[in-house]
């Protein structure tokens, strides 16, 4: 025992020490991080953010240098706050508040005090910088917009917030990140990679040379340049036409799914959201809850599609064998489907078969086709779900899976929705209860981009390419299967020809005959969508939305588009005119019908939009 005691003590001490080392070095990882904080200062070299070009190689977005004043709180020494504040034109309270915030964030890690100085401010401050220990200037690059359009497509960049910094260790306080649009969607391509320089420090926080002789330092990698599918000229033209109106235009190249223009109105100039003026401007735009300039109506606005939807009703009817192109239905100013239930229609000759039905947009014709389609099945539930399946193949009722940073699903009702509505199985319901769907007025909601995509699918005679905004990265065309592989609809190819002929007749003898363009075979469909709003809790009907879809030329289509004008009344009044001008602009490059153009440019809907907010009774559809 006496001989063994010391052995035991020595061995157990060794075990205790090794366990302690294990705890310190392996188990508890916080020490390693503390050591990094302690001994190594990290400096960053910010790369140039990639430029953005339009489909024709026109430069849209480039960079301008910008300078942030940064602070490392624990290195602060007493300084002349008055001078500092006067150089940067801020109040002392603001400075004190910022410094406190920086200290709370971390005394060791640099935080931004004043973001994005101008060149002049920078030049002046640079001279005085030696007086302010603990502060330094970080150079970054800011966006420099070469265009005044497409702000909704391009998006904007802004300082990262704290939650993102915690989530993604690449970002540090003061870093800029894409917050919307292409800037957000292609952040990783555009931002490049920061260069890192590590500096070894001693316990007095003095630099004592590069860490490990700079072995781990990296050079910044510049961001990649993007080419987007937008045609800046068409975009600019569309935005001009949309002035003083609300709504959206989405134009797609059917043969590729490339988005030619994505217009929302009202909108804002992209340069408003650059640099230090970003914050006040953003606030102003954000709080305009009536016009909603930040709201991208082209991809987010959910509207009842109205009559353009009839093209799908016809296609589904043909596919299901519920109707052929020759069968005609009579129309007596509408379609009566119950004792007091009637779907109204305007005056036109009767009866009509499919092609003139489309051209004249006869509600009764499509009500018949729809009912036959649904009633082909034993129960209306089955009929509706089958109908929904066809619609979904056109990209309706769900996100398109594109590379836009926002979007809406829209709505395609299924049998469950109607079961709930009618309290099934207690109460039965029939196809007639959903009759409004036939003419795009029921529960169906679509976004303009979904309608444009649907139009492209019709133009392609049965398939579409997922609409997308990216064309090339660093000059190399993209090869993303999602965008290059066609998606087929459930409608057989042969059924498209009669419907397309009907859409063509819309321009020849139908509701849009006044909008023909000499020498271009346009196919399209007008729409007039009833809509309601709630004002002070009361449901009120507003002036109809003016809707239009079109593609052209009829063979080898180059453009398919959807135009939505909120409260623009009937389809050809605003949306049709704008669609027709956009098509001419895209195909011809010039506008021959200047009187039509002038009409659109000089007509404003602002008065119409002010009506519900005036507080006085108002009339609609005037």
């Amino acid at each position: 025992m006496r001989k063994l005691l010391l052995y035991l003590i020595i061995i157990s001490t060794g075990i205790i020490f090794i366990s302690r080392l294990f705890y310190l070095q392996i188990y508890n990882t916080s020490f390693a991080a503390l050591s990094e904080d302690n001994a190594i200062k990290v400096l960053y070299d910010y790369p140039q953010r990639g430029a953005i070009y339009d489909r024709n190689g026109k430069l849209l977005v480039s960079n301008q240098p910008s300078y942030d004043v940064m602070v490392i709180p624990r290195e602060l020494k007493p300084f002349d706050t008055l001078e500092f504040c006067s150089i940067l034109k801020i109040t002392k309270e603001k400075l004190v508040k910022r410094l406190r915030k920086a200290r709370v964030y971390s005394p060791r890690v640099p935080s931004v005090v004043i973001p994005q100085l101008t060149k002049d401010e920078y030049a002046y401050l640079q001279e005085k910088m030696r007086k302010f220990d603990g502060f330094y200037i970080q150079k970054r690059s800011l966006r420099d917009y070469q265009t005044t359009n497409a702000s909704n497509v391009l998006g904007y960049i802004g300082e990262v917030n704290e939650s993102l910094i915690n989530k993604n260790p690449y970002y540090l306080s003061g870093d800029l990140i894409g917050m919307q649009g292409v800037e957000k969607q292609y952040e990783n391509e555009l931002r490049g990679i920061k260069g890192i320089k590590r500096i070894q420090k001693d316990r007095f926080n003095r630099d004592i040379g590069p860490y490990k002789s700079g072995r781990y330092d990296t050079l910044p990698v510049n961001g990649k340049d993007l080419t987007i599918t937008i045609d800046e000229e068409l975009q600019a033209y569309g935005q001009k036409l949309m002035e003083n109106k609300r709504g959206g235009i989405v134009a797609i190249e059917p043969s590729s799914g490339e988005i030619l223009s994505l217009i929302t109105a009202p909108t804002y100039k992209p340069e408003l959201l650059v640099g230090r003026k970003r914050s006040p401007n953003f606030t102003k735009l954000y709080y305009d809850t009536i016009a909603k300039p930040l709201y991208d109506r082209g991809v987010k606005g959910e509207y009842p599609p109205g009559s353009p939807f009839k093209a799908l009703t016809a296609l589904i009817g043909l596919q299901e064998g519920a109707v052929d192109t020759q069968e005609s239905f009579s129309c007596n100013h509408g379609f009566r489907y119950g004792r007091k239930a009637k779907l109204g229609c305007h005056a036109h000759r009767s009866p009509l078969n499919m092609i003139p039905g489309i051209a004249q947009s006869c509600n009764a014709y499509f009500a018949n086709v729809y009912l036959k389609t649904i009633n082909k099945y034993d129960t209306p539930q089955e009929g509706i779900d089958n109908w929904k399946k066809h619609l979904e193949s056109f990209g309706l009722g769900n996100y398109l899976g594109n590379d836009l940073s926002s979007g809406s699903k829209g709505l395609v009702p299924n049998s469950k929705l109607y079961n709930r509505q009618h309290n099934y199985p207690k109460n039965k319901w029939y196809a007639t209860a959903t009759i409004s769907n036939a003419i795009g007025q029921g529960e169906v909601l679509t976004t303009p981009i979904q309608l444009a995509n649907m139009t492209a699918a019709i133009a392609n005679r049965g398939h579409y390419y997922t609409p997308h905004i990216i064309k090339a990265i660093d000059g190399k065309a993209i090869h993303i299967e999602n965008y290059t592989k066609p998606k087929y609809t459930t409608i057989d190819k042969e059924h498209f020809e009669p419907v397309i002929e009907g859409l063509h007749q819309v321009f020849v003898q139908g509701t849009a005959r006044s909008l023909q363009v000499e020498g271009i075979d346009i196919c399209g469909k007008t729409g007039t969508a009833e809509n309601y709003t709630k004002i002070n809790g009361k449901r009120m009907q507003l002036t109809d939305h003016s809707v239009f879809i079109a593609f052209a030329p009829k063979d080898n289509p180059k453009i398919a588009l959807a135009v939505f004008i909120e409260n623009g009344y009937w389809g050809s009044r605003y949306a049709g005119k704008i669609a027709s001008l956009m098509i001419e602009k895209h195909i011809r490059g010039t506008i021959s019908r200047t009187d039509l153009e002038d009409w659109v440019l000089t007509h404003s809907l602002e008065e119409e939009y002010a009506k519900p907010y005036s507080g006085e009774p108002f009339k609609i559809n005037q």
Binding site: I10, T13, G14, R20, Q25, N38, I40, K201
Partner: protein, 488 residues
């Protein structure tokens, strides 16, 4: 003759010594070099100085091996006297460095006699214990042995260098090996436990705990003697005391609102009380088999023990609060986790832990330690040299050093045990005790397990006197061991 002496040297020990010294120098170099060009003649650099000390220590080793082994035994007394005198002389001729007068200055070279006094004391103790007339079981002789140990320690304490004085506790090991009663060990360990517990919880709780422990012990003891009757009595006494304790806590409840909380506390206390009592019973059970005499427990002894414990707890409390200086209190409080202060007094320990902790599995590599380079750990090339090992060589390197030290100590123990001569054996045990104490206190401090007590890590820490002192200590034993073949 010379050849056989060389052949008899324990080369395993020498090898371990060389590895530790060499590795130690590498770490001192890493911890102290700057941007300068390496110049072998630049004696302003500590790594050059340490290199010189290492080279010179080889001469010292040759001398220790050249001297007759008998010399150490014969002149042990004289060496001891000279050593103590050199310590006393410090009060007159000593040079004050960093507030401690523990150096003699010879021009640029400083010598620290306390580093050599350990070897001298070890020799003197070995000489005394190996004397035919000495019987360590006698109180009289124990006191003389304690005097030999305490004399240099008492001279060192007021220099002030309490750390170096503490090392003299290491001589407990040879004393115990030579037959000092185990009760000293038990008393020593109990005192240490009571000391720490008192600092943690205050004297009252410790006292109550000790009381319960005693009750448990008593129950067991008496049960083993009188199987039936009285054990029941003591058992009930014990239970009554536990019950009273519970009542005491319940009485303290001031309002109904706190009843639930109080109840919870009481239950915790009750469980703790039962546990401590059970510990006492268990201890009694353990000692039963060994405590050869199955005699009646001496109740007076238990009473005395309780009195002593009471006195001890309160005096610890008093000494800690009134005699200790604030810096001493701080050191204890930091290790006990009662105080967190990483900027002031706790800076050293905290930085040392950060440096070691940042080493991870295999460390940052030699001369690549960011904490070491930045000079964040104060005194890193001396007392905190182990933090450099931890940072630059990682868990693997630091564990290897620990294993090497354990290897050296176990090897020395083995050598000490094979000595036929009691003088050599006592000396060997003293060497192990001293090296072990330094190792434990130093590594314990650097890894934050023990309070800050500034003593060097043998063979590693920078310092000529220290290195020479340990070298002498070790190689005298190697010589004694090598000479064992000549003794019959």
């Amino acid at each position: 003759m010379a050849k056989s002496a060389v052949g008899a040297i324990d080369w395993i020990t020498v090898f371990l010594f060389l590895v530790l010294v060499g590795f130690g120098w590498g770490n001192i170099y890493s911890a102290s070099y700057g941007d300068e060009v390496f110049s072998i003649t630049d004696f302003s650099k500590v790594y050059i100085k340490q290199g010189a000390w290492i080279l010179l220590s080889i001469i010292l080793i040759i001398i220790t091996q050249a001297i007759e082994a008998k010399f150490y035994e014969r002149f042990a007394g004289l060496i001891f006297v000279i050593s103590v005198l050199s310590l006393i002389g410090l009060f007159v001729f000593g040079k004050n460095v960093n507030g401690a007068t523990s150096w003699y200055a010879f021009g640029p070279i400083g010598l620290q006699p306390s580093e050599f006094a350990k070897a001298a004391t070890a020799l003197a103790l070995a000489k005394f214990l190996s004397d035919m007339q000495t019987n360590i079981k006698l109180i009289n002789h124990q006191l003389r042995a304690f005097l030999i140990i305490a004399l240099p320690a008492l001279v060192i304490v007021p220099q002030p260098d309490p750390g170096s004085a503490l090392v003299y506790a290491a001589f407990f090991f040879p004393l115990y090996r030579e037959g000092l009663a185990a009760s000293y060990l038990i008393i020593g360990v109990s005192a240490a436990i009571l000391f720490i517990l008192t600092l943690l919880t205050g004297p009252y709780y410790v006292l109550i705990g000790a009381l319960l422990f005693m009750v448990g012990l008593l129950i067991m003891k008496s049960a083993s003697v009188q199987k039936e009757r009285k054990s029941k009595l003591y058992l009930s006494i014990g239970l009554v005391m536990v019950f009273l304790l519970l009542i005491y806590f319940l009485i303290r409840i001031p309002s109904v609102i706190e009843i639930l909380g109080g109840l919870y506390t009481s239950i915790k206390v009750l469980i703790l009380a039962i546990f401590i009592t059970a510990l006492g019973v268990f201890t009694g059970l353990l000692s039963q088999g060994r405590s050869l005499e199955r005699r009646k427990p001496r109740y007076s002894m238990f009473l005395l023990a309780i009195l002593v414990i009471t006195g001890f707890c309160f005096s610890v409390n008093y000494i800690f609060n009134n005699v200790f200086e604030q810096r001493h209190r701080d050191r204890f409080n930091i290790v006990l986790g009662k105080e967190v202060d990483t900027k002031g007094i706790g800076y050293n320990t905290n930085q040392s832990e950060i440096a070691i902790g940042s080493g991870s599995w295999s460390g940052k590599g030699w001369k690549e330690g960011t904490q070491t380079k930045g000079g964040f750990v104060p005194e890193q090339h001396t007392d905190y040299i182990f933090s450099t090992v931890g940072e630059e060589w990682g868990f693997l390197g630091a564990s290897l050093i620990i294993i090497l030290f354990m290897g050296l100590l176990i090897r020395l123990l083995y050598l000490a045990e094979r000595q036929k001569n009691q003088f050599s054996r006592v000396y060997g045990y003293s060497v192990v005790g001293i090296l072990f104490t330094h190792f434990v206190v130093n590594v314990g401090m650097v890894t934050g397990l023990l309070p800050t007590i500034g003593i060097p890590l043998p063979f590693f820490s920078y310092g000529g006197s220290g290195l020479w002192g340990f070298t002498l200590l070790l190689f005298i034993f190697i010589k004694l061991d090598a000479n064992r073949v000549n003794e019959w």
